[in-house]
Symmetry: C2
Subunit: 423 residues, 2 copies
């Protein structure tokens, strides 16, 4: 028994950065697959509030959760164990934190590290793998991809993105129908602000409503904002169709790099107003063309909207979680499962694998040939890329009018080490 | 035949004011019920862009639409024939417009006027009925209730509201799960702005997430904003739960009547910034407590969100449309079908009837006993009222990842009268 428990090592799973509608589906994939391999993997511990839980030895024993509760994670948005925005510095600048992570892993006999996040966490994951090896007690570190921004390299798409894309496309379509109804005497321009500080993938999804006959202008972070050209484009569309919809990325910026959302707006007290890009764009339209407008800022609603998640995205999120465990059991280390598209129509993909050294700290932007020459729309190539990712619906169960989402018990594991101070 | 066509009169249907996720379900109820009574009702004409279509004799022949297209209206948000914001003045101030309406109705042998809107259109509907009677050619005018604001009197609730309520409750729940995940190191307060200029019904729906364990503060238009008390309440909740969600009504205002959304915000050029209440509330929290925040403005997304409509609401919207036709066939005039609740649990209702004279221009606000004594939440009585209205899901069909919504042909009827100038 004692020998067996030494060869059978525990796993650690943590969620990192902004959460999504499907990151818990990845957690579900990790935990269910680990449970199916009890002969090789012992406990699955989760970090409370992400990597901070590992640093402070605040571990959650996922074994205390029922199979039903874990299964429900598949249809629960947000991060069930808590996430955090905490980027570890370089090993040189803060070796203390990496050594602490490894000490916590050793204290709890953790041999598998599954880190569910974006580019930053891929970097952390990679370093933990390297450092633990150099310290003579290798930990198999597998990164599970997650980001609504869809900006991870190598993988064809990133779990979390497909559901935001579906939310944005569906919401933009519905609001556009609304504006179309009202345009004769009232609102003629509707502006929807979506996430995407550096990459325009989410805004691009709004461009899909063109296929439903909606006149739409998309403002990407990749294309510096040209107010004159933008106003002319809106003017043309409103003259032709009577109305139009504008999808603006939060990262849309002027040629000098200033974000539209930060153009010195002040409130009545002279405090800088943390406004959105949408009201700024709406104001530009109003001043230039006089049209009545409405604007919306989707913010967290878009990345939390599990009720309108893409079935494709949910499946992929689950599969990369499950694949992470399988890759670990096959002996892989410092890798990330990827989604490899093999066909657009019909959509086909398989789960592949990428070395973390190639993933960490690389951002994938919209290729220029996915954006129309005028910079205000998406091309057929972009639509071929996006369309499969929003396929299928996977509504949660509802009870008493509301979706049924999991809130776990999140039972703490007894600590074994002295406290550690986060600096 | 000629005699029959004279006794068989046509119907006119128009959509008025802000559209909803289910106003087309009412249109579907009107048209399908009229089609089922072809022996008594001839053509169903719709006003293109609401009552403006009647004034300008821009009528749509709904008979050109297939049964399938009309059936699809039941799951299509927005106003399929176009709506308008155009309030007729009093008969005294603008007799010309009322006489024109009646002239158009006479020219097209219209004996039934179904007007689908809120308080203003109930008033118009009533006046048309009165005036046509005084002019010796009575038109049976039936008002079909519609408003997301839920502010019509007599009827227990108003079609359009239940679906917004469900959208707001579900979205607020999802975003709250997100904030709960992030609160340790990042966002602690999430602010969601919802519609409701005068009445707080929509904001109240956000209060339902308390039943899911979410700490929530609701800001109603009925309760003047008390910044100090509000900050103290947020502080208490964040200290206790680590995070909280704020639902703010667009109509939330200071004791002097100034809207929060209009507190003199100016952009970099000194132009008044048409901001939302949400960023203002978020800024107040940031300055007073220092918490990181996120905010969203749902705007049109909330009232157009047919994909997460309440099944109860869709059914009621259809039924009041159908009932309007039945009431007309029974000889009623100047009335509105209402929803009469007969039981909370299990929820039961029947379709009743109210005289338009009692409906027109009366706004129904949240009763004080639906709001908690501190002014920041909803009471059990309010929850008993709201809960049935968000029951059931009625997802549209999806194709290629997107909901299938109707866009009608909207074929124009030949004009018979000289042009009429809108003043």
């Amino acid at each position: 028994m004692a020998a067996a428990s030494r060869t059978k090592r525990n796993a650690f799973y943590a969620q990192s950065g902004g959460v999504t509608a499907v990151i818990n589906a990845s957690a579900c994939g990790v935990i269910e697959t680990a449970r199916a391999n009890k002969d090789r993997i012992g406990k699955v511990y989760a970090g409370r509030n992400g990597i901070i839980g590992a640093l402070t030895e605040d571990l959650i024993d996922t074994g205390k959760e029922s199979a039903a509760a874990i299964a429900l994670l598949r249809s629960t948005p947000s991060g069930a164990f808590g996430s955090c925005r905490y980027k570890l510095k370089s090993v040189e600048a803060n070796r203390r934190e990496y050594e602490r992570l490894i000490a916590v892993f050793q204290a709890h006999n953790i041999g598998f590290f599954f880190y569910n996040g974006g580019g930053d966490s891929a970097d952390t994951c990679y370093k933990v793998s390297q450092l633990s090896e150099s310290m003579g007690d290798p930990i198999q570190a597998i990164h599970v991809p997650k980001t609504v921004d869809n900006d991870l390299p190598i993988t064809d798409c990133c779990p979390g993105f497909g559901s935001v894309a579906k939310y944005v496309a569906v919401s933009a379509l519905e609001a556009s129908f609304d504006v179309r109804s009202m345009a004769k005497t009232s609102t003629k321009v509707f502006v929807l602000e979506v996430m995407g500080r550096h990459a325009g993938w989410i805004a691009a999804a709004g461009g899909l409503i063109e296929d439903e006959g909606i006149p739409v202008v998309v403002l990407f972070p990749e294309i510096p904002f040209d107010e004159k050209k933008f106003v002319a484009r809106v003017d043309t569309l409103v003259k032709k169709h009577g109305y139009c919809t504008v999808i603006v990325s939060e990262g849309c910026h002027h040629p000098d790099g200033t974000f539209l959302a930060e153009q010195g707006t002040k409130d009545a007290f002279g405090h800088a107003q943390l406004g959105g890009a949408a009201p700024v764009v709406a104001g530009i339209v109003k001043r230039a063309l006089g049209h009545k407008f409405h604007w919306a800022v989707a913010d967290y609603l878009q990345r939390a909207a599990r009720h309108i998640a893409s079935k494709t995205d949910v499946e992929q999120a689950y599969k990369v979680g499950a694949a992470a465990v399988k890759l670990a059991l096959q002996g892989h280390n410092a890798v990330m499962p990827t989604i490899e598209r093999t066909s657009d129509t019909p959509y086909k993909y398989r789960i592949g694998m990428a070395p973390l050294a190639s993933v960490a700290n690389v951002e994938k932007f919209m290729p220029r040939n996915f954006i129309t020459p005028d910079g205000f729309g998406i091309t057929p190539a972009c639509k071929r890329y996006l369309r499969p990712l929003i396929q299928g619906e996977d509504a949660p169960k509802f009870r008493n009018g509301m979706p049924v989402y999991a809130t776990l018990k999140n039972v703490a594991v007894d600590k074994k080490l002295p406290a550690f101070e986060l600096r």
